[in-house]
Symmetry: C2
Amino acid sequence: MDQNLSNLDWSLIRAFLAVAEEGSLSGAARRLRASQPTLGRQVKAIEDALSAKLFARHARGLALTDMGEAILPAARMMAAAMNEIRLTAAQQETEVTGTVRITSSVNVSHALLPRVLAEARRTYPGIQLELVPNDDSENLLYGESDIAVRMYRPTQNDLVTKFVGDFEIGLYGAKRYLDKKGRPSNIDEIMALDLVGYDADERIIAGLARYGLTVDRLAFMTRCDEPLTQWQLIREGCGVGFAPCIVGDADPLVERIPLPVDVPGLPMWLTTSKAMRHTPRIRAIWEIMSRELA
Amino acid sequence: MDQNLSNLDWSLIRAFLAVAEEGSLSGAARRLRASQPTLGRQVKAIEDALSAKLFARHARGLALTDMGEAILPAARMMAAAMNEIRLTAAQQETEVTGTVRITSSVNVSHALLPRVLAEARRTYPGIQLELVPNDDSENLLYGESDIAVRMYRPTQNDLVTKFVGDFEIGLYGAKRYLDKKGRPSNIDEIMALDLVGYDADERIIAGLARYGLTVDRLAFMTRCDEPLTQWQLIREGCGVGFAPCIVGDADPLVERIPLPVDVPGLPMWLTTSKAMRHTPRIRAIWEIMSRELA
DNA sequence: TCTGATCCATTCATTTATGAATATTCAGTC
DNA sequence: GACTGAATATTCATAAATGAATGGATCAGA
């Protein structure tokens, strides 16, 4: 309302940028960990202040107008400067304290990281840890997290990556279920079983396709997007599905189903930004994760 | 407290920059039109988020630490980007509407601008005007105001200036006062009168010094920093003092005291930033001020 | 045409930030 | 050494921003 060109809150530009890049208020809200109404109001505040429409409201989200496109480069420059501030501040740190934010897939977070992070906590009690189990890939460059475990090698320029090992995946079924349905001895018998899974298995499906096993979404008789719940479904006998070997092999309720083709493990790449690489707290956690995940 | 490196409010950087440049919380508060406690809290919030001291608290204000110096360039870059956004937005304007913010000295604001701005309002009813009477020189480049009337020619690079005329100044005294004390006929008699004035007369004093008339602060028997109140003091007979001729000549209570030397008028320079020069609303007000002040 | 999903706008109770007033600190000056 | 002036901290009542819940609109797919 009484927002004026001269005293436009800088943080509104952050909101603008998030909405522009995500393409929706809801998406931007998720990225900034705010709510959708908040982002909506902030966008309106910027538009009032600049007295120009920056977005065209669309049913599927918000699209930039010419005016929005015009200020986008400067907004990006602000984000870059802000990031510069963060990096500068981090580089001046000398103590092994602070918070390290780690992103990784839900499965890795659940199956591998707890042990690793417990070790990290014991070694560096001064470092607070934040674990974000998330199957999408957040952007490390904007400081949204410090270290990521990725199942592919990131190619961006300002990142450093290190291969730490394979994340073994196997096909499992509940003993009770297999007792009833019979243990499959060839590929056709496997395909005849009830499959449990969904989106998160995309990479596995892609891998299988390379060996001539085509599976589409409808092949899954039980579908669940949440990997941990999916695993419970398998354990209780809804059908068979893929899971980390480290989880499956340790569970007395299930057993591994031998596959005719050799499904390779998913490569795990430890990732951080070059600029943060040498800050004490990041380096400390990096070393532990690198050693313990190997 | 729970402020984290990754979700540091961008507007806090604006606060940091203002405090760094002004050298005090109070100064920064004035610049940003906020309060001193607010700035204090915001600075603390940044320091918490970066977990580093950015300022050394001093009795005379806050001085940057090494850490603060380190992030200053990036903060300036953010400010530049923010300014870029403002300029881009302004340049896309096509309508003669919006707000124009004008800065000028208290005397000029009081004596000349009301008539000029009234004319502007009549001509462009869609433009809202904001007048900031202020004897210090605010920075036009950071968008704190759009047009300034300066008593000197600004030399900064990205500004455009135009000489619009002289602001005539004369020495005045209340008739009642002069009846009692007698009308001075030479410089010594003038100096024997009670002088009313203070800081704001600096430029006049400097001008007089060039003619061999040295006056120091203690020569003013009645002192007041507020030019308008100062004028009331003169009108009521506290003594004689300098005032704009346009005010003094129109007031029946006072009369002008002829000076043996010719005190030149103060040159008035209309100033705006190059980038804003061609936006419709600025151009419109500029033209009117340029014509009416001549 | 209908259904499900996704997104934006609005409302209202709650949390958070703000500023006026006041106390406190500190360097410079007589 | 006390005083002055200009600054920073603190307190508390008020104003502003936030988010959960809800309603409404639009598009994709059956």
